[in-house]
Amino acid sequence: MNERLRVLVAKPGLDGHDRGAKVIARAFRDAGFEVIYTGLRQTPEQIVNAALQEDADVVGLSVLSGAHMTLCTRIMELMKKEGLSEVLVVVGGIIPDQDVPKLNALGISEVFQPGASTEDIVKYVREHARKE
């Protein structure tokens, strides 16, 4: 790959639990990716706008509040509308098993549940970004 992968790490909704977002942002950085962290409490509009402005290859969403279905549905609609369908979107957080296929159906490539290792996440992103 000639250019470094650009990853947007985002925290949608009201949830302030940013341990996971911060850890994964650092793991991406250590893996040589370019990382942009949005900070907390971003609306779907702000996140999609940031993905557009920053020319992100990957968007990583972190949600622990249980609002993931509402927030991800809106974000994926906006991504499509903005012509960002080729951007790889992954989600991490407190996501129950039964919601995983629903998130996949929205166009989210992978859902990382509690216990996922940063190595696996980095590997997945490396293998799947800029492929579609």
């Binding site: 909704g13 009201l14 949830d15 302030g16 639990h17 940013d18 341990r19 911060k22 850890v23 650092r26 793991a27 962290y37 900070g39 907390l40 409490r41 609306t43 509040s65 249980g66 609002a67 993931h68 279905m69 509402t70 927030l71 407190i94 129950p96 098993d97 549940q113 509690p114 216990g115 290792s117 940063t118 190595e119």
Partner: protein, 535 residues
């Protein structure tokens, strides 16, 4: 002489990465002075416990944190828990309430009733405590940025039921510093937030004397990834900061300090955690008597609540969490906690089901009634290992305090991002240690099962949000809106003035059924909002 046996390559460290020796002996605690460092339970510096009789007198309060959906659903859960032997209530609010916005705010979409109960106004609070005798049950409320407002709602419910505020017992978390440091559920900038907190101290001392007006919390600091020592040091230093601000506002330390309470995490490392609680009492005693020269002996006594570590539970093989919680709860009890929440086995997946919550409750009852450890006070006191850990934990605190003093206190340190960076670093180191298998987490990086049977989880009824928003709209249409406007105008005036206690104006807004969002909007207009710099 016996030869030193072979050892695994190690490292032999606590969960927090502190190196541990092969064996501890009298040599290791040569610097320990019984009278000065320990003394008997109930005697300063309270290392061994704050009461001479501890659980032989009264067992700890079983206080399970709970809330979801609407007030009516949560009220039903409270009655269920009380029927099954829980001895105190603990309210979990949904995120919009914690952020001071109403359920129909655009940012609330998808969040209503999800990780706690939806409370928009006094009307919801009346339903939440329906049929619960407020003069008999103590209630803890996990609310920080809007704590003064939520507390006011509770006080007005009591007022309407004819319960004297002097008989109310409970706690508001009201600890904004750890929000900036760790949990990030803040609204206003640090300085006006500190003013609101000092106002609650003053009001509580005069009008609600049995209420704990703050629960200075390490729990969230630990959940954000800190070490045990960082949890302890930052929490106690937050306590120092609150005392400083209250004194500067002219409050008498010996009037408000006895109502300060604390809240710690119980992680997996049994001895490290017990050492943390023992050191907490000792360090706080020294801070209050030496640094602040308090006169009232009760000012120097650290009382605390414990919750088992949510971050230590695993989504994999979730029934194993029952065992983890039991060990963590044991640490809290062996460390002399005043109240305890035991997490449910399904917390890494969703809010607990009734069944999972009951197992959490039963875990405490088994420890209390079957284990025998409540027969004597501080049963591990004198252990070479534990006493060494306790002394080291104390020493580590003084080192952190020195650094924080040199930064000009905690508000300044937060503005510089110091505690935030320390915690982020520790969280990353911990994650890497797990990935390198230096730390084994059963079911996650060892003893893994490929196919696991799914367990039932609690699904929040999505119609709860619609019901909540309907109720809110009905309230806005039927209340005396003139009275609401007048009370909000008065609130804004008091906030702008900046020198008066805010509680009376907040209480008037609440009595008029102004919503939480409306009240916070007035305060946001005067105080501004806080945006965290990215560290």
């Amino acid at each position: 002489m016996v030869k030193k046996g072979l050892e695994r390559p190690g490292p032999f460290t606590t969960v927090s990465g502190v190196p541990i020796e092969r064996v501890y002996s009298a040599e290791h605690i040569r610097d320990l002075d019984y009278d000065k460092d320990l003394d008997d339970p109930g005697e300063p510096p309270y290392t061994r416990g704050i009461y001479p009789n501890m659980y032989r007198g009264k067992p700890w309060t079983i206080r399970q944190f709970s809330g979801f959906g609407t007030a009516a659903e949560t009220n039903e859960r409270y009655h269920y828990l009380l029927k099954h032997g829980q001895t105190g209530l603990s309210v979990a609010f949904h995120l919009p309430t914690l952020m001071g916005i109403d359920s129909d705010h655009p940012m609330s979409e998808g969040e209503v009733g999800k990780c706690g109960v939806a409370i928009d106004s006094l009307a919801d609070m009346e339903v939440l405590f329906k049929g619960i005798p407020l003069d008999k049950i103590s209630t803890s409320m996990t609310t920080n940025a809007p704590a003064a407002i939520i507390w006011s709602m509770y006080l007005v419910v009591a007022e309407k039921e004819g319960v004297d505020w002097k008989n109310l017992r409970g706690t508001i978390q009201n600890d904004i510093l750890k929000e900036y440091i760790a949990q990030k559920t803040y609204i206003f900038p640090p300085r006006p937030s500190m003013k609101l907190i000092v106002d609650t101290f003053e009001f509580g001392t005069k009008h609600v004397p049995q209420w704990n007006t703050i629960s200075i919390s390490g729990y969230h600091i630990r959940e954000a990834g800190s070490t045990a020592l960082q949890e302890l040091a930052f929490t106690l230093y937050d306590g120092i900061e609150y005392v400083e601000w209250a004194r500067r506002a002219g409050l008498d330390i010996d009037e408000f300090a006895p109502r300060l309470s604390f809240f710690f995490n119980a992680h997996n490392d049994l001895f490290e955690e017990i050492a943390k609680y023992r050191a907490a009492r000792k360090v706080w005693y020294k801070v209050m008597t030496e640094r602040f020269q308090c006169k009232n002996p009760r000012s120097a006594v650290l009382r605390f609540h414990t919750q088992t570590a949510g971050c230590a539970l695993t989504a994999q093989q979730p029934y194993n969490n029952i065992v983890r919680v039991a060990i963590q709860a044991l640490a809290g009890v062996l460390g002399g906690t005043q109240s305890l929440h035991t997490n449910s086995l399904d917390e890494t997946l969703a809010l607990p089901t009734e069944h999972a919550a009951r197992i959490g409750l039963r875990t405490q009852q088994i420890i209390a009634h079957e284990s025998g450890i409540t027969n004597t006070v501080d049963p591990l006191g004198g252990s070479y290992f534990l006493e060494r850990l306790t002394l080291d934990m104390e020493k580590g605190c003084w080192d952190y305090f020195e650094r924080l003093d040199s930064m000009g206190g905690m508000v300044n340190a937060i503005e510089q991002g110091y505690p935030q960076r320390e915690i982020q670093e520790a969280a990353y180191v911990y994650q890497k240690a797990i990935e390198r298998k230096e730390k084994i987490i059963v079911g996650v990086n060892e003893f893994v099962m490929e196919e696991e049977p799914p367990i039932d989880i609690l699904l929040i009824d999505e119609s709860a949000a619609d019901r909540q928003i309907d109720q809110l709209r009905r309230l806005r249409a039927t209340r005396d809106n003139e009275r609401v406007r007048a009370s909000l105008a008065q609130l804004k005036k008091a906030a702008t003035d900046g020198s008066v206690n805010m509680m009376p104006s907040i209480l008037d807004c609440v009595r008029a059924y102004a919503t939480l969002g409306e009240i916070c909007d007035e305060l946001r207009a005067v105080y501004g909002t806080y945006e965290e710099p990215i560290f």
